[in-house]
Each structure stands twice: as structure tokens, then as C-alpha cells.
Amino acid sequence: MNADRTVGEFALNRSRWGWSEMVFWLLAVASIFVFSDRYLILTEIAWLGLFAMSLDLILGYAGIVSLGHAAFFGVGAYTAGLLAVHGIVKEPILALLVAGLAATVLGFVTSFLVIRGSELSQLMVTLGIALLLRELANKFSNITGGFDGLQGISIDPILGLFAFDLFGKVGYIYCLVVLFVLFLLARRIVNSPFGLSLRAIRNNPLRAAAVGIPVNRRLVAVYTLSAFYAGIAGALFTQTTALASLDVFSFDRSADLLLVLVIGGTGYLYGGLIGAVVFRILQDLFSSWTPQFWQFWIGLVLVLIVLIGRERMYRGVMWLPRNFARRFGKTKPAAMSDGGAS
């Protein structure tokens, strides 16, 4: 009983909204008005952030390294595209959910393959599944349109009220709302006892099993959830760009995603979102530098991050805000030590 209460208190303390989180989302809302000429890039950041958050759920919270997360993204993208082309589900939000569920089913089925075996075979199986799906999409070109992608995707107004406009304002607000809702859900989940048990598994699967956590079932659950998120991200991509081509399954997409998450940091949900912003800015910078060869610099960033060491990099980045907080905001560290003591 007592242990339950302390765990509950701990979880509650962790799930309290801090001021930095509120600032983050206020900035996101402000971006609608401030960068009114950059909606396309902002939209891209929004779905990329959601996609990275889905990887964070398995990598940061459960410790599963995936080289083929684009599989779920692609399934979501194609489902949304096919639904729109054939007019099966016209309403975007409903189509979004259907696409997410399609990815969920795939995630559930493949999770049993992924959680078995060593890290190397995890890498292999995830990579293999993404390649397999790409090959399938290529072979069934009568359905998917093959290399040219799906033709003639047109998206109906959201809820029948808000039509997607040329500048992408509606699209961006739509992505942002979906992102925020799914973020709230993820935040609730990772701060629940379920989320805590995932962290225990990541830190030491053997010990987690010894204290009575059903390791495999938890991993299946979180992998499936992550697939759902990735599917939604893919569907958002298709709905806002009216595109779905083989490229959605590509290895580069999965690899870039790892970079996005690593830039932002794993295991606190905001990593994917911050990473998406930084990644997109970097990508823009690199492609204005050397249009064809921006991937070289992306590779260099990856190499440098690893050589510097991820931990050290975050400490370096956080030094300024921490110093700032220590000097001016005496309340914050005190509150944190309170939480630790109780």
C-alpha cells in the first residue's frame, strides 16, 4: 500500500506541468502567427516531430533500436492516400485514425518478431520489414502507383468545415492540433505506472522481469503504440502534401529519424520535437549550401555527435539555461529537491 502511494506520488510529481513546457507550446502556437510565410516547413516539422516522438516511445522508453521505423510511417501514408484516392473515407480526421490503426495492426504483428533476439537481430528485422514493405509497394504498382506514387490525392475539408488552403495554414494548424493531442496522450502514458515499468525494462530487463513486470507484453504494447503514432505521422504527411510514393519506406527516412531524435535527446518526449526543429533548420542550411550533397553534412553531424558523446553534448547545451536558472530562479531547484526527498 505504502509503496503504491509513493510510486503514485512520484509519478504525479513527474507529470506536473513545468513552466518550460508551457513556454514550448505557447511558442508553437505563436509560430502560427509569427512565421506566416513558412507554413510548409512548419508543417513538415510538426509531422516529423510526431514521427520522432513515436520512435522515442520505443527507443527512449523501452530501449528498442529500430532501423526501419519508416515501415509504419509508410503504411500510414499509403493508407491515408488510398482512402482519399478511392474516396472510401472522405473525412481527414477519420482517415487519420484508420491509417493509424492500419499501422497499429502491422506494429502488433511485427512486434513479436522484433522483441525476440539480440539487438543486432532487432536492427536486422526492423530494417528487413521496412525493405520488405517497400518491395511490396513497388511490386503492387497497380495499387500503389509504384515509383511515381499515388496520383490524384485530394483531401476533403476537415470535419467538413476547414478546407486545406494553398498556403498551408489550415494544414499546419491541423498538424499542430493532432501533435498536441497525441503528445498529451503520450505524456499521460509515459508518466503512468505502465511508463515507469517500461523504464525499468529499458534499464535492466532481467531485473524488471524479476520484480514481476511482464516484459514481453509491455514491449509488445509500447511497440504497437509507437507504430500507431508513426502511422498517424505518415498520414499527416500524405494529407498535407497530397503525396505518397515509395520514398516513404526508404532507409534514409529511418536513418534521418534516428538523427532527429538524437539531436533532441531521448526519453523525455520533447526530444523528438526539438530535434525536428533543429534538424529541419540544419537541412535547410545544408541544402542552401550544397544543394545536392546535403546528406554529407547530415552524416558529419551524426559522426560528430557520437564522437563528442551524446551525454556530453546535452550537458554542454543545457549548461547555459541551468546556470541561468540557478542564478535567477531559486524556486526551481528547491522544488526539484523536494520532489526527490518525498
Binding site: 533500436v65 543486432l120 537481430s121 536486422m124 528487413g128 525493405l131 545536392q292 552524416g299 555527435i305 557520437v306
Partner: protein, 319 residues
Amino acid sequence: MAALTFYRRPSRAAKLRPPQDDGALYGPVLMTTLFTILFDGVAYGMLLFVLACGLAVTLGLMNFVNLAHGAFAMAGGYICAILVNRSGVPFFVALPIAFMASAVIGLIMERSLYRHLYHRSPLDQVLFTIGLTFMSVTAVDYVMGSSQTFIHLPEMLQGQFNLFGIGVGRYRLMIIVICGLLTLGLQLILARTRFGSRLRAAVDDPRAASGLGINVPQVFALTFAFGSGLAGLGGALGAEILGLDPYFPLKFMIYFLIVVTVGGSSTITGPFLASLLLGIADVAGKYYVPKLGAFVIYTVMIVLLIWKPNGLFGRTAAR
């Protein structure tokens, strides 16, 4: 066919007539086709083995996931292409140079970068080697252009000759001979020499091996260099069959990984058999069920990994 994920010059098997064309010759033609597929498959498989065995050792020795292994192969291929096409160096002289150059690149990379990462998490290793792969792909694209590069082969290696009614490609025969000799040589080095026993000891248990006075980092650096050299040689030999362009490391990454995971990394026979299996299955799959393409390979790999997560022939794929 142009829409294949993995571009390859159409193999001879794909160009053969389908067996049901003439009724009278059905039996013999079927047999010849089978032999041709087998022959091409073995050549392809042996090539894959030379390309991937360095990766198997890296993985077995230090448990290091080197996704950039294909970059060394590509380096060897391009060095050979530049030497033969631009400087007019004979093909058989260019091959050992490609081997040496890739080995030296491998040694430098190992000593300067890789060795810092042996004790890092697999995520770090994966990120690092993906970064290296991206860099090598775009760097080669920048220097050499993104189109396919072909190596001018000497006259004596082109075309095919008739052996008991079966057309045997000269180039593929040479690949089988060279790669077969290399495999034998590797097996002998590993089984009979002092270095081989040191290497095996270090693979089995690095801590105990270093306790016995074996200089494990040195063994590893040499092995890494040798494996990179072999990959470079494989890249040079394979330019004709696999195609050589800047995306080589990304295209064949999955093939190398299949060889290593299916074959395991404790012996050299495991990856060898796995490569042969993969080569034959790929060529046969492309010939008999061209519609499915690489689908067959991926499915076989996933099924194998589920059935035996530690590899078909190996004790442990990764510790």
C-alpha cells in the same frame, strides 16, 4: 525491371530462354538452366562472402555493428576503376592495389575513429556508422558522379566458353577461382597460423585472451584492416556483377548483414555457407519468380531470424 530496388546488370540466367519453349529439349535445357543458375549463384555467393567476411569478424571480435562496411568495398571498387580506366593499369595488377588501399584506409579509420566506439552502446555505433556511410556516399557522388561505373575488363575475361554443353562465363569462373582460393587461404590462416589462433582466442573471450598476453587491440586492428581490404577486393571484383555506383554501401548493407546474422560470427564456414545460400537463392529467385524480386530474400531472412535468432550456423551472432 528498371524499377528494381537493387540495380544489377541483368544476369545471364535472366536472359536465358524460359525452359518451356521447346518441348523436345525440355529435359536438357532445364538441366543447363539449373546449372547456369547454380554457377551464377555460386559466383555471386562467393563474391558476397569476400565482401562480408570482414564484417563477420568485426562483429564477432568486438561486437561492433559496422554499417559502413560497404563503404570500404566501394572504395576498393572505385580505386580499381580509376586505375584501370584512367591510368591503364592492368586489371590483375589493380586488384591487389585495391586490396591494399582499402586495407590501409581501414587501418587508419580503425586507429583514429572506430576504436573509440567499441564500448559504446549499439545505438551509438549504428549512428556513427550510418553517418560514415552517408558521408562516403555523398563524397563519392561529388567526386565521381552518380552514374554507374564500369571497369574495362581484359579481353580474356569477357564472354563465355562451352563446357559439356553448358555456357560458362569467364569472368564468373575467375571470381569463383579467386574467391575459392581466398576462402581456403583464410581457413588455413585461421586454423594453422599463430595469428589465427590468437584471433580465435580473442573472438571466444577477449578478456581471457588479453589475460594470456595476446594484444587484442592489435589483433583487432590487423583483422579490421584485412577485412576492409577483402571488402575492397570484393568491391573491385564485383563491379562487373553487382554494379558500382555511389549508393553501393546502402544497397548492399542488408545483404552483408544477412550473411553475418544468418551465418553467425564464430566460424568462417558459417558466413561462407550463408553467402552461398543467399547467392543461389537470389539468382534463382530472380529467374523463377522475377515478379517477387528481392522479396524472397527478405522473407527468408526474417523467417530464419525468427526460427534461429542466433544465426543458422553460428553459436552466437552477437554477444
